[in-house]
């Protein structure tokens, strides 16, 4: 959180915060809570079907501002399918059909007047495997999203790239070789570059589809720490196979399970602590205790 160290407390706050409230007195770190405590995304009865075959259905929950929401469940429960519905990635699949209602703030995600590209600049995504653009430099990767969105001002590009690379804990190791190719980075670094690339556009929500499944445990640990640090900057929805990971990073959890007709359904949604200690549904308990899946 290097960036926030230098940030002065906001003078315009209606009730001026006292310094004790926002500074960790032992580390000197300034704590800035941007959370509004409101939902940023609302899912109502969301379902996804491919060619008439339902893959996931009846999913309703709220995603709260600057929290980490984890989608957990065994393979085939529709976690990734659901995640990709949130920024209209299914638009590219002709047979895919999304039903129900998804709201991003006041924007109806699937309304005809919503431009999918503008929507995706507000809802970023990080994929399973690191996928930096192979022909671009580290810097060009970091600002790719900004360029796609029409940003041309060099100052803004530089500022956003540095901020995103700092936030992705990559700045210190790449600041002196921004012009080198992204393929010179290690797998973990590449994934952090992908996170920086997504962050540079300053999205409101960041979708992460098993972002550590292709990484070794040490790189995984760094990404997990990163996710924890990022949540004050962006609301995160993460799909994970790994229960320990969900337990470590998530504030809230949605547990999905494949029903008898092979369609994923939401079994339980709630705070992570409740889901992992005393869930309402016995199936959730079995799953989090590792009895299946």
């Amino acid at each position: 959180m290097t960036e926030q160290l230098s940030r002065p407390a906001a003078p315009t706050s209606p009730m001026p915060p006292t310094i004790e409230d926002n500074v960790n007195l032992t580390t000197g770190e300034v704590f800035l809570d941007r959370s509004t405590g409101h939902p940023v995304m609302q899912l109502k009865d969301v379902g996804v079907a491919f060619g008439g075959r339902s893959a996931v259905r009846n999913v309703s929950f709220d995603v709260f501002d600057r929290e980490i929401t984890a989608l957990i469940g065994p393979s085939g429960s529709g976690k990734t399918t659901l995640l990709r519905a949130l920024n209209r990635m299914h638009d590219t699949v002709r047979s895919a059909k999304v039903t129900g209602k998804i709201m991003l703030g006041d924007t109806d995600v699937y309304s005809g007047s919503t431009d999918p590209t503008l929507l995706r600049s507000r809802v970023g995504m990080v994929f399973q495997r690191p996928n930096p653009f192979p022909t671009m430099s580290i810097y060009e990767n970091a600002v790719a999203g900004l360029r796609f969105n029409g940003v041309r001002k060099k100052a803004l590009l530089d500022e956003a790239a540095e901020s995103a690379l700092v936030a992705a804990a990559l700045w210190d190791s790449v600041s002196d070789r921004l012009k080198s190719h992204a393929s010179t980075l290690s797998g973990g670094e590449q994934q952090r570059l992908c996170i920086a690339r997504a962050l540079a556009v300053e999205p409101e929500v960041l979708l992460m589809d098993e972002p550590t499944s292709a990484l070794d445990p040490i790189a995984t640990k760094r990404i997990e720490e990163l996710i924890g640090e990022l949540k004050n900057r962006v609301t995160i929805i993460i799909v994970t196979h790994n229960m320990q990971q969900a337990m470590r990073v998530a504030d809230r959890c949605a547990f999905l399970l494949m029903g008898e007709d092979r369609t994923g359904e939401l079994i339980e949604f709630g705070s992570a602590s409740k889901l992992f200690s005393e869930p309402d549904d016995p199936r959730t308990l079995d799953y989090v205790n590792g009895r299946f899946g």
Partner: protein
């Protein structure tokens, strides 16, 4: 704990988000127009590229269909002035020549392709290079080669035409086979190795079956290419007015009919040439479509 509500310009991140979203929104119209224009240009060029193709097909259809009659498919070629001529002898010839070429080149090309795919030595490199050069050799050279090497010894014969056509098909099948075999997940071979299987057993039981859709597509495309060739036949099979099924004798073939009759000054022979052109084009088209369908079908069957 008091929390700061920092939805104010003092927060650089929220400020930057506002700025970026503002730019994105302001430029979305321009970007959309740009994108649509680019896609529109792609369409225009696509249409331009397709026009000659469609024109050839339509023109051949229009000119060739009137020639198609029962007699066209059942009668042998007849000289100018004698009515009711057909191309039955040429159909038989093309099928026989194509069949011989296919029967010889497919096993040969496939095994060579397997060798190329499994071997990285200098020999494989040299053979691969030779195959690539052979693909680019003008087909008339194959005909002349067949004439000099074989016709002068054995006389004009259908099997020499098949040989010349096979020389054109062979590198195509080799390279298509190699590509299909290389496309098989190497982990499958490793799984075979880890079970103690020998190299050829792995190829026969694991790799070749997995590569089958690609191999079949490549083979059918090579056949389609081969049966349409004229130049290798010109110097090798001579042509034959009569029905001939003996491959050691001169034979007629569809490309030869097209070549010979289209340069005649007689309207009925030119008509026959158009009909033969349409027939050959349809056969090649059916082979192409069939190979795609078969590959797709096999791909689906496996899942």
């Amino acid at each position: 704990m008091t929390t700061l509500s920092f939805d104010s310009p003092a927060d650089p991140i929220l400020e930057r988000r506002r700025q970026i979203q503002g730019i994105a929104k302001a430029t979305v119209g321009r970007r959309k127009t740009y994108s649509r224009a680019a896609i529109g240009i792609c369409w225009v060029f696509l249409v331009i590229a397709v026009i000659p193709l469609v024109a050839v097909i339509l023109y051949t259809l229009a000119k060739g269909l009137p020639a198609w009659s029962t007699g066209f498919f059942t009668q042998v070629t007849k000289p100018e002035g004698i009515p009711n001529g057909g191309v039955w002898n040429a159909i038989v010839g093309t099928v026989i020549i194509g069949a011989i070429a296919t029967a010889v080149t497919i096993p040969l090309g496939l095994l060579a392709g397997l060798f190329l795919a499994e071997s990285d030595g200098w020999a494989a490199g040299a053979i691969r290079f030779a195959a690539d050069v052979m693909t680019g050799v003008p087909s008339i050279l194959m005909g002349i080669f067949g004439y000099i090497a074989l016709v002068r010894t054995f006389g004009y014969a259908a099997w020499i035409g098949a040989f010349s056509i096979g020389m054109i098909m062979l590198p195509v099948i080799m390279r298509a086979g190699e590509t299909a075999i290389r496309g098989v997940d190497p982990h499958l071979s490793e799984a075979g190795l880890a079970l103690g299987a020998r190299k050829f057993m792995i190829a026969r039981r694991i790799v070749l079956p997995a590569a089958l859709p690609g191999i079949i597509t490549g083979a059918l495309l090579a056949i389609a290419r081969g049966v349409g060739e004229t130049a290798p036949l010109l110097f090798t099979i001579f042509g034959n007015q009569y029905l001939q099924a003996n491959p050691t004798k001169p034979m007629e073939a569809l490309p030869l009919v097209i070549y010979n009759y289209s340069s005649q000054p007689y309207a009925d022979l030119i008509q026959i040439a158009w009909g033969a052109a349409l027939l050959l084009m349809s056969a090649v088209l059916i082979l192409n479509i069939g190979s795609r369908w078969l590959a797709g079908f096999l791909q689906r069957e496996r899942r």
